[in-house]
Symmetry: D3
Subunit: 236 residues, 6 copies
């Protein structure tokens, strides 16, 4: 199973998905943000963890025997610290999971759940405290539309490829996927970028023009940023 250093996990929980997609895009990874996947509530907790995947295919009335165990197995086997990512083919007509399944993930120490379908009993899911992302609430039981196919294969979720072990980060705007072999570097760069953005926001709020400041820092902005950082660490 993939590991994630404490420092990287901590960094990723303090930077935005906008910062991360920007960095990934500069590295040539252009399709890493899940489309039409949102937190079940705007105030859901931040989510960071390696992906454990489950794949749904459309239900088949002659294959129902296979249904329950795979879903249950996902909830029992997704490793602690990991995020269960579900390929529901973007179909929210029936639920991908509900509050008891999410409660089990939470109890087992998992870091979150993401589906490009829907979650049911979202009030109950929210109460479990598990960070949860989906397309929209969906009360019908999964078996009306979905058949669980397999665990921990590469999947599609929200139009993005998710491989087991990919690092999943969620904030109030959505969910981003980071390849594990570059996650430490991405996290470090994200912290630096976030600091500069904070500086730029303050400058802008004080009336400074974007020219030479954002996007892209000119010589003057770089000097001012260094000074700002110094003042800041002095102040703390």
């Amino acid at each position: 199973m993939a590991e994630l250093s404490h420092a990287t996990r901590s960094a990723l929980s303090r930077v935005g998905t906008s910062t991360l997609t920007g960095i990934l895009s500069r590295r040539g990874l252009r399709n890493m943000f899940l489309q039409e996947v949102w937190p079940i509530r705007p105030d859901v907790a931040r989510m960071v963890g390696p992906a454990f995947t489950m794949r749904f295919i459309p239900v088949r009335e002659d294959k129902t025997a296979a249904r329950g165990p795979v879903q249950q197995q996902a909830m029992e086997e997704c490793p602690p610290g990991h995020v269960l990512v579900v390929d529901a083919r973007g179909d929210p007509r029936a639920a991908s999971a509900g509050d008891i399944y999410c409660g089990r993930l939470k109890a087992r120490g998992c870091a979150g759940i993401v589906t490009d379908g829907g979650l049911r009993d979202t009030e109950g899911v929210f109460k479990t405290g598990l960070p949860a992302y989906h397309r929209r609430p969906s009360s019908p039981p999964s078996g009306i539309v979905h058949q669980p196919a397999d665990l921990n294969l590469p999947i599609a979720c929200g139009g993005v490829a998710v491989y087991p072990g990919d690092i999943i980060v969620g904030d109030c705007d959505g969910v981003v996927v980071i390849p594990p072999d570059i996650v430490d570097a991405v996290a470090e760069e994200a912290l630096a970028t976030t600091l500069y953005d904070e500086f730029a926001e303050e400058e802008v709020a004080r009336g400074r023009s974007l020219l030479g400041l954002f996007p892209g820092a000119g010589e003057e902005a770089k000097r001012d940023f260094e000074a700002w950082k110094k003042r800041r660490s002095g102040a703390s």
Copy 2:
């Protein structure tokens, strides 16, 4: 007009649409949850009541004389305790109703309004206190897109057939339709299921595995559930 016993109305207001769609699905009713219909605000009040229906068709410039009266009539004739369910063909480009119409429904003792189109002045609608469900806010007056056709015929709403007198239940996740001839049994079963779910949630939160617990209760879980119920009633 359809009647709904006090006990059943009370039970339905305490169980989730996820529980209800699960029970309906086990009875072979697979398409009873309205798709893409949500409460106008996450904290809207619970809604229970028999359906009174209104049907829109697309506007026709040569038929405008017929417009106003049918809509007004719907607001004046939807019986107290009932839910006005509107077939807007899933089209939210113009409103299905607004705050004054909803205020009238509320004043007449109606139980809610549901449309698969949009509602206008949602702040005003929210203030009336009427539980209200729609696809999204829509400010334009209905006549730009819709023509009211008739009242109290079977309609489509959110991709679901709604017959006058069907029992409509709404919570924060959406809206479910229950045939009136089975509503008492469904409500009773829903209470029992909700109780078991509550037990299972507690067990799961304490670290119990899903195996033999959910979905489907094994012998041990059944015994534990009985004991839990006893403790619970003793405690109260």
Copy 3:
């Protein structure tokens, strides 16, 4: 640049987009409400101002040199009191703008931003205090999908034509466009309509029937409205 009298701006900030679309519709303007464009949060501040426009076209890898400057220019040149309206072809797969750009608009005294695509870092955008409307949050940087084409031409936004100088009004339900040559009359009529609606809401809440009251006021309702207005001004 378009001007907007203080009285009209003030009136427009107190009336709903539903009232305004109703008045525009009666004047034959049927397509003035942006479809699928919402405030980034339900409690975003009211927005009123003339439009300054920016147009995106799809990204072209051989034209990237042209990207940054136009977007930056929009943020630096949108006049104070104006609303930046962005034609993103309804495509929210990548952001139209983020918190630093929005911060600059706010610092320069602009009245808001509207896009039919997405905004990134919506938490940061919200903190700037700039009224902001979009289709949905979108973290990826704009350059993955969009190429800024030009400023201050007539554009499409949310399926509506927006000409530079058109008056843009946003509330919790969405955004409406008003031609500048009729905006004073529309604002005045909107105040009157809002007053009558307030009267009608109170009457309806007290149990009065819609017949002769709404939509369309009968003789009796007109008299009652006059009396209500008198009582009201006497009371204040």
Copy 4:
């Protein structure tokens, strides 16, 4: 039942749906062309006739007894010379009708079938010779998705209101709806417009500029048109 004079029926079968929608638009009827409804084959025969309507709502597993008879009744009762227009809510996941139903309509002298859902066994339908329009081929039997609700009420089809007795005209581009009270005037105007268009096409093919010719005829074009008409009748 609506009647259609021989002259008007004949005229309508010789003019295009583009000409007809143009004329209707000039009369203020802007939404009369069915969206996403096509002939089952490009070389389907022209279709003209008054509408007889059938309405589907979504299937309900507890209402299946009502299914068959209404559909069968539609095929037996649609009057000769009429077009059966089906409201399938734009849903082609299951068929609206198939070759045997269409064969019965043909045998009874009906003028065509239109649905905004799908037709099954389109090869068989084509062989019956009945003009048939739909959204796309759909093999599954209607009962998987649809429940017939009623006959000869106003319906929505392809986003357009269709009232029983409305005149339905189809060509290779699609289907247009004409109110029966203006159909004679519209047909006459369409013949005249078609004649002018023919003249303009010839002129354009010979190299004439559009200025003063199309759209809108200037004085010179009017004179040339008169001369063209004379030459033409002289030639025949």
Copy 5:
């Protein structure tokens, strides 16, 4: 690998997908017809064969090494007589395959190709003679959008679950999936149904009412059908 008797293959190539979906529906299999998947040309040859599956996921720029081989392998390993069924997540923005890949399948004796994405160079594909079904033509190379993930797992195609070995049948209206364990019975029943439909079509063409004839045969229709079959075999 799945086998298909000569008799069943022959029967399936003479019956329509509408007949087959009807029979499957009566056996409780309601979702076996691929949605939005069509022959690349209306006059494509009939297709029958067991499924061999390939699954695409969205492209990932850091995984490109894995791309080519899997796709090539599919074309080399799909067994003779089988249909290659491709899960392209319904995304036709880039091709699933082109004329050279299809030519290889044809040369190896495969029975067809089906994708819920697009095919490129459809003229070349048509010339290979391989029955080919897709959503729409798509010229861009697959790697712009798709990453091949694996072969011969259960997949989703056109909203339907396809398991390796399922029997795939295509005609001019689309594609149906039949479980292999019932395919012989389904094929036999389909021949019988097709014969009755032929009889009913003839009767209807001669003016017979649908009552007691279709859907569902009454006593008289059954007797007439027996007589018709006798006349027919006597005539041949």
Copy 6:
């Protein structure tokens, strides 16, 4: 105005859009194929020429005076040999042009018309002989939905950026855009690729494996290709 050498024009008319998108993709241009834009008939003539653009925005009832002239001007000013490319925002609810406009383009020596909306009177358009591409037939006059905004600016069409002077190529599968500064090299490479594909198709038809042949030619295939070319030129 852009020029296009005879050799390049001729080459482009003999290679497929699939070959061209492949070459553009290898040069890093990934979004050059128009999505959901097709020839009005499968047997439409090949189209090659530089782009002249027209942009529609949504109709505004207070701006109708501006409508006609811009559209007429487009037909009169699109230079001979050029393709008129129309940005209709992907909206085919009303026509982008019809047979008389297309006839004028043809008479003036233009090379084709492309819109991501619809064309009306497609039978008449086809008769003009002008290569024409659209999303689907659309009979309603453009003014119901569209307002012409301007000519010869960069636009979006089918989700692709089109700059005036870009080279537009259409075949039976759709339309591709080529930057003018690389068009000669792309055309030359396309001829070479097409030749190799022809060789590979023949080899595959004779039973050769894809390994080392396609995609990507191994040493052996390269030698065989050289021999094939020699035999071929010898044979001719």
